[in-house]
Amino acid sequence: MPEAAVIRKPRVLSRVFSAVRLPVGDPFAVVGLVIYALFIVTALSAPLIAPYDPTEILYTENYDLASDLLPGEEGHVLGTTSLGRDIFSQIVWGARSALLVGLTAAFMVAFIGSIVGLLSGYFGGWVDALLMRLADVAFGIPFLPFVIVISAFSEPSIWNTVIAMALVLWRDTGRVIRSQVLSLRSRGYVEAARVSGSSDLKIILRHITPNILPLSFLYGSIAIGWAILTEASISFLGFGDPDAISWGFMLQDAFNSQALARQAYHWFIPPGLAIILVVSAGFFISRGYENLLFPKLGR
C-alpha cells in the first residue's frame, strides 16, 4: 500500500507538508528539481541577467540595425534577431513568461480539478452526474483548437491563453481526484467523523482534502509542461501576446524571419532546448511524485 495515500490520523498541516515533500530520493526527480531551481532563479532575476531589454531594437554606432549578428559578434552571446534584438536576453526573459504561464495554469488546473473531484466524489448523486458529464464535455473539446480560438478572438494576452487551457485541462485531475475521494469516503475514520456529527464541510476540509493534495500536486506538475508547450504552439501560430517575449514567440519570429534558410541554428535551437529542458524537468519531477505516491507504477 502506498505510504502517502494511506492516512490514518489526519492532521492538516502535516499532510500538506507530506504533499509538497520533494521526491529527493529519485535521481530523475533530483535532476528535474535542479533544472527547476535554475529556471526559477533565471526567471526571477531576468533583469539582472539579461544584458538588454528583450524587445529593444539595437543599432550599431553608424545607425545601422544590429540585425542578424552571429553569436559573439558585438558582445551578443547568442547573436541578434533579424530585427536587431538580443537573442540571449530573449531566452532569459522567456523563462519568466514560461514560469508565469506554467505556474498559473498548473494552479488553476489543480484547483478547479480538485474542487470538481471533491464535490463529485463526496456528494455523489446528481452533483456527481452533472460534474462528470461536464468532464465528458471537456474531454470532447479538442484542446489545442479550443485554446487557439479563444486566444485569437479575445485580446491577445498570456492570461487568456492560460484561462482557455484551464477551462479544458481540469478534466483529468477532476476524474482522478473523484475516484480517490470515492475510496476515501468509505474509509473508517471518515465514517466515524460522519457518525459523530461533523459537518460535510469539516469532513471535506479536515479528512479528505489533505489526502488528495499529493494527487493535485502531481497533476499540477504535469500541467506545467502542458501549459508551456501549448503557449509555445499558440505563439508559434501567431495568436500569442505580441508584447510578451516567450520561447514560443521567439520560435515564431525565427521561423518567419527565415532562420532556417539562414542556417541560424543559434536562433531557433536555444528556445527549443529551453522548452525541452523545463518541460522534461516537470516530467521527471512528476515521475518522482508518482513513485512516491504509487510505488507500483514507476520503476
Binding site: 470532447g140 479538442p142 479575445s154 509555445a232 501560430l237 527549443g272 523545463v278 522534461s280
Partner: protein, 325 residues
C-alpha cells in the same frame, strides 16, 4: 448483456456531449464581440450591400433562431457557407479531411510499432545502463514542441541535405486517378515522410512507456515464472508470453491517441504546408472566417468524441484482462 446496456448508456451520454460541444461552439463564435462580417465588408460597400451580406449569412436573425437553424442544418450535414470563400464549408472540409487522417494514422502506426517494440525491449533490459540512458530521452521527446521538431527536421533534411521536399502532399501538377493511387505513389510518400516522422517521434513515448510498464507487470505473473522454469530462453519469454499479454491495454490507448494527434496536427500541418484540417482551422481563425473555423473545429471534435467512445468500448471488452493484472 449488461455490458451492452452500459455501452448503450455511454453512447447516449456521448451524444449528449456532442450536443454540448456543438452548443459551446455556436456560442463561442457568435458571442465574440464585434461584427463577425467586419473583415469581409469592403470599405467601398454601400449600406445596402452590407445589409445584403449580413442577410445572406442569416446574421440579421435573433440569436435563438440562428441557433436552431444551425442545429437543423447540422443534422442534415450542412455546415453553412464560408465568409471568405463564399462556398459551402462542408465541401472544403470533406476534401481536406483525408489528408489529415492519413497523416494522423500513418504517424501513429509508426509510433506504436516502434513504441511497442522499444518498450518491450526496455522492459527486458530493465536495470541496465541502456535503460537508464533511454528513459530520459523518451521523456524529452514528449517535452519537445512538435512544430520545433518539425522545423529542425525541415532545416536538416530538406533545406540542408535536400533529401525530402519542403511541403505539400505531391509535386506540382501531378494528378492520380484515385486517392489510393496517390497515397501509394512514391511522390506522395516522400512528401509525407517528414511531417509523419515529426508526429511519430513525438507520439512514440506514450506506447513505449505504457508497454514497458505493462511488461514489467506481466513478467511478475505466475505463468511467466512457469515459462522460465520450463527452461525457455529469456527473450522468448518476453516476446511469446510477456508482450502478448501486455499488448492489449497499449492498443486501447491507440484510440485516445488518435484524438490527441489530430490536435497536434494543427501546428505540424502549418510547418509543412500540409493541406489538412488543422491548417484550415488556423487559417480560418486568422481570417475571422467563423463558419469555416466552426466546421473544422466540429469535425475534429467529432473524431475526438468518437475515439473516446471507441476507447471506452475497448476497455469494457478488455475489462477481464485488465482486472486480472
Amino acid at each position: 448483456m449488461s455490458k451492452f446496456k452500459s455501452f448503450l448508456i455511454r453512447t447516449l451520454q456521448l451524444a449528449l456531449v456532442l450536443w454540448a460541444v456543438v452548443t459551446i461552439l455556436f456560442l463561442m463564435f457568435r458571442l465574440m464581440p464585434g461584427n463577425p462580417l467586419a473583415a469581409y465588408i469592403d470599405p467601398t460597400f454601400t449600406a445596402e450591400q452590407q445589409e445584403a451580406l449580413i442577410r445572406q449569412f442569416g446574421l440579421d436573425q435573433p440569436l435563438w433562431r440562428q441557433y436552431f437553424t444551425y442545429l437543423a442544418n447540422l443534422l442534415q450535414g450542412e455546415l453553412g457557407y464560408s465568409f471568405r470563400y463564399r462556398t459551402p464549408v462542408a465541401d472544403r472540409i470533406w476534401l481536406l479531411l483525408p489528408n489529415t487522417l492519413i497523416l494522423t494514422f500513418s504517424s501513429l502506426i509508426v509510433a506504436y510499432a516502434f513504441g511497442i517494440l522499444a518498450g518491450a525491449w526496455l522492459a527486458w533490459r530493465r536495470g541496465t545502463r541502456t535503460e537508464a540512458a533511454a528513459l530520459p530521452v523518451v521523456l524529452a521527446t514528449r517535452a519537445m514542441p512538435e512544430f520545433w521538431l518539425g522545423m529542425v527536421l525541415l532545416a536538416i533534411f530538406s533545406f540542408s541535405l535536400g533529401w525530402f521536399p519542403a511541403g505539400g502532399t505531391r509535386s506540382a501538377g501531378t494528378s492520380y486517378d484515385s486517392l489510393w493511387a496517390l497515397y501509394t505513389s512514391s511522390n506522395f510518400l516522400s512528401h509525407l515522410f517528414l511531417p509523419m516522422m515529426t508526429l511519430a517521434i513525438y507520439s512514440q513515448g506514450l506506447p513505449l512507456l505504457l508497454m514497458r510498464s505493462n511488461m514489467l507487470d506481466v513478467m511478475k505473473e505466475d505463468f511467466i515464472t512457469m515459462a522460465k522454469i520450463k527452461g525457455l530462453s529469456p527473450f522468448a519469454v518476453v516476446i511469446r508470453h510477456g508482450a502478448r499479454n501486455a499488448l492489449l491495454p497499449v492498443m486501447t490507448s491507440f484510440a485516445i491517441s488518435v484524438g490527441y494527434q489530430l490536435q497536434g496536427n494543427v501546428v505540424v500541418e502549418s510547418v509543412f504546408s500540409w493541406p489538412g484540417l488543422g491548417r484550415e482551422l488556423v487559417n480560418a481563425v486568422a481570417a475571422s472566417d467563423y463558419p469555416l473555423a466552426q466546421g473544422a473545429f466540429l469535425m475534429i471534435a467529432v473524431v475526438v468524441i468518437a475515439m473516446n467512445l471507441l476507447a471506452d468500448l475497448l476497455y469494457s471488452i478488455l475489462d477481464p484482462r485488465i482486472s486480472h493484472a
